[in-house]
């Protein structure tokens, strides 16, 4: 058999799951969609002594919109469910736009939003979207819960602020201000592969189409999702003319730190990031103005 032996439990409530992670500590791994965890178990790169399967906890699978416009997503909601969800399409178009870039339908049928966010792969789409939308995640442990901003959640390569006995339970996405446009794009070798470079833009403009706030967040550009805050700040007070967008794309180069790997050189990734930055900004500005 491929994976090493382990004990397996499948709690049917969050309370039960929280008790299990408290009791078993670092011996236990949480199993969500399994689309990242099972491959590494098949290679025996991970050999957890116990798996706590979250797939039988229906209370972690939901999408809700509150009166104040906040979207709340249960961590065990499948990526495929989100991709087809009318609330996501209407109120969080950036998430809707990014989901089909994740792997393939068979993988999104199992993969969850919480699993992808917790896994913290710097090349993954969903952590970038969390930061771009200024979202937060809820971490629960037995006897307590806390909220962590996306920008504070990612601390290092495949590492988050989550403690061993905490379960990521909910994702909160605030409503976008009026006249805000969003866009996401990426370049991958083949459709469904992890991208070589990708960027999400969120741009807010005033009545005269002048930018009042902007965020630019990159995947595969460092050890965590990279928010280029200084480059994005250059957009404030500006309109979408080509010179400005090119200058911003240049400025982002100071903030991203892609590395060379078997798929592409750091130089090529930097080049892609520059080209994609101009592209998403044009799109986001246009959408903001037409909003």
């Amino acid at each position: 058999m491929k994976p090493a032996p382990f004990e397996y439990i499948a709690p049917t409530s969050l309370a039960e799951a929280l008790t299990a992670v408290r009791q078993h500590g670092s011996d236990a791994s949480l199993l969500a969609g399994g689309q990242s965890l099972v491959p590494v178990m098949n290679f025996r790169l991970a050999q957890p002594a116990m798996l706590v399967d979250l797939n039988r906890i229906p209370e972690l699978d939901y999408v809700r919109r509150e009166g104040n416009g906040f979207i709340r997503i249960g961590s065990m909601t499948r990526q495929r469910t989100l991709e087809r969800h009318p609330l996501i399409a209407q109120y969080t178009p950036l998430l809707h736009e990014a989901l089909p870039y994740i792997a393939h339908p068979q993988i999104r049928n199992r993969g969850t939003i919480g699993g992808s966010l917790a896994h913290a792969d710097p090349a993954a789409e969903l952590p970038v979207i969390l930061l771009a939308l200024n979202g937060r995640v809820q971490l629960q442990k037995s006897g307590g819960a806390r909220w962590v901003h996306g920008r504070d959640f990612y601390t290092d390569l495949f590492t988050t602020a989550r403690a061993e006995d905490e379960i990521l339970t909910e994702i909160e996405l605030p409503p976008l201000p009026p006249r805000t446009g969003v866009a996401f794009t990426e370049v991958a070798r083949r459709h469904g592969d992890y991208a070589l470079s990708g960027v999400a833009a969120v741009v807010t403009v005033d009545e005269r189409a002048v930018c009042t706030a902007a965020r630019l967040v990159y995947l595969n550009a460092g050890d965590t999702p990279i928010s280029a805050t200084q480059a994005a700040a250059l957009l404030v007070g500006e309109q979408a003319d080509e010179e400005v967008l090119t200058a911003v794309a240049h400025a982002t180069q100071q903030e991203i730190t892609p590395t060379t790997d078997i798929h592409a050189t750091a130089d090529y990734k930097r080049h892609l990031a520059k080209v994609l930055t101009v592209r998403v900004l044009q799109q986001a500005f246009t959408r903001a103005v037409n909003e």
Partner: protein, 160 residues
């Protein structure tokens, strides 16, 4: 490590089995049930050869443990044809359009296409290619697979 007893419905037949939790669904289907139509290529989620339907939706059976299928319904390629010599219309289309050469990728491709065509009865060629993006074929160059899928779609009245 403790074994688990699961009840699982495969191709309409419900059975109980006692298994180790680390047994992959793909290995359970092949070794425990002898349903070797589910192929395993990479065993880490990349090739799609092991695709089966889990409660009607295509999934990688190499990325699930059999114990997780407790109480669920699985369909494998063996569940497609009603009887020997009586191919499912999707299989028939693959045969007629030469949609396979060695056949290693075929079971996964058929089970990816079945729910896809049910949801998109009149797909474009581009949509078919996108739907198949998670299934690798080392023989055909994909053209005949796409032709077969479009041929099957043109006869979509087949129901399931």
């Amino acid at each position: 490590m403790s074994d688990h007893t699961i009840s699982i419905t495969v191709n309409g037949k419900t059975e109980e089995h006692t298994i180790e939790p680390r047994l992959l669904l793909s290995d359970f289907l092949r070794h425990q049930l002898g349903l070797t139509g589910t192929h395993v290529g990479c065993e880490h989620g990349v090739c799609g050869a092991c695709t089966v339907l889990f409660d009607g939706q295509p999934v990688r059976s190499c990325l699930m443990f059999a114990v997780q299928a407790n109480g669920h319904e699985i369909m494998t390629v063996e569940g497609l044809a009603k009887s020997m010599g009586n191919l499912h219309p999707l299989q028939q289309a693959f045969w007629e359009a030469h949609g396979l050469q060695c056949g290693f990728c075929t079971p996964g491709i058929l089970l990816t296409l079945l729910p896809f065509l049910a949801e998109n009865p009149r797909p474009t060629e581009a949509e078919v290619r996108e739907a198949l993006s998670g299934n690798l074929c080392r023989c055909t160059g994909y053209q005949h697979i796409v032709d077969a899928a479009l041929l099957a779609a043109s006869r979509m009245e087949f129901g399931n």
